[in-house]
């Protein structure tokens, strides 16, 4: 009789130890350390979007050709028009150089502007399409 009682006690002890142990194992088995996910998201750089400068609007000027023959007449006309009888002169060669210098400045201006447009088009997409949007 006492032998049966001892056996029951052993089983009881075994349950007391085994059940919590199994539960612990079960729970710890279900839980897992999550992998840390590091992700990279590319954030596009803000566009510069500077306003395009307003195109030039130039004043018209008048050229007067003065020769040894018409000098008196030219100065007389200036006085009649109420202008100071003074002229800032260029020789024909210097006039030619001035015209060419202006053409070079104009070309450079055009190239620089087009270059800016091309850069903007390349880095910020099609300008025409963007305008439409």
């Amino acid at each position: 009789m006492s032998h049966i009682k001892t056996k029951d006690k052993t089983w009881k002890l075994a349950y007391i130890i085994a059940v919590p142990l199994m539960l612990c194992l079960l729970l710890s088995g279900c839980s897992s350390v999550k992998k840390l996910e590091i992700f990279k998201q590319e954030v596009e750089r803000e566009k510069l979007n500077l306003n395009t400068p307003a195109p030039l609007s130039l004043e018209q000027l008048r050229w007067i050709i003065i020769t040894s023959e018409n000098a008196d007449e030219v100065f007389k006309k200036l006085e009649e028009q109420g202008l100071d009888p003074v002229l800032f002169g260029l020789t024909d060669k210097d006039f030619e150089l001035l015209a060419k210098n202006f053409a070079r400045i104009r070309n450079q201006l055009k190239i620089s502007n087009d270059l800016l447009d091309k850069y903007k088009e390349y880095y910020e997409g099609d300008l025409d399409n963007k305008d439409e949007k």
């Binding site: 030039l56 050709i65 006039f95 060419k100 053409a103 104009r106 070309n107 201006l109 055009k110 190239i111």
Partner: protein, 156 residues
């Protein structure tokens, strides 16, 4: 009894070992599958990147070509200006003495045209008249390349 226990131990160990091996194979398989998916997506990304790079190169080439074309037409405008002053044995100063009024008119017209060229180069919009100019008499002779896009130069 001892032998039986020993054999049972071996069998149990074998079963557990086999189970562990199968589980290891399953884990390896899962890793390989994940690797294959990653590889496929990497290949797709690489293909997209290569396509994008090809398009970029095309765009760069086109932009370069356009800039070179612009530089050459602007240079032609400059050469034409030089010709206007020095064509043949033309002496600009002598002409100004002989035909003062006419030269004054020509120079003032040229000055108006040159100013307009600078306005266009600085970004001013072309007028309809400038856009539609196709004849030599309609163009801005100072800078037809930028002022009159529809004008095709011809020799007369």
């Amino acid at each position: 009894m001892g032998i039986r226990l020993f054999l049972m131990g071996i069998i149990i160990s074998a079963v557990i070992g086999a189970g562990a091996y199968v589980m290891k194979l399953q884990r390896d398989n899962a890793v390989l599958k994940a690797n294959a998916i990653k590889m496929e997506s990497a290949i797709t990304e690489q293909k997209e990147l290569i396509t994008q790079q090809k398009e970029d190169f095309k765009e760069i080439l086109a932009a370069n070509q356009k800039m070179n074309e612009l530089v050459s037409v602007l240079k032609k405008d400059l050469d034409d200006l030089d010709k206007r002053f020095n064509k043949g044995k033309r002496d600009f100063g002598k002409l100004a003495i002989e035909r003062t009024q006419a030269m004054e008119r020509i120079i003032n017209n040229g000055s108006v045209n040159a100013s307009r060229c600078i306005e266009i180069a600085s970004g001013a919009e072309l007028t309809e008249k400038e856009k539609n100019a196709t004849k030599k008499s309609e163009i801005n002779p100072e800078c037809p390349s930028i002022a009159n896009p529809n004008y095709v130069p011809y020799q007369n």
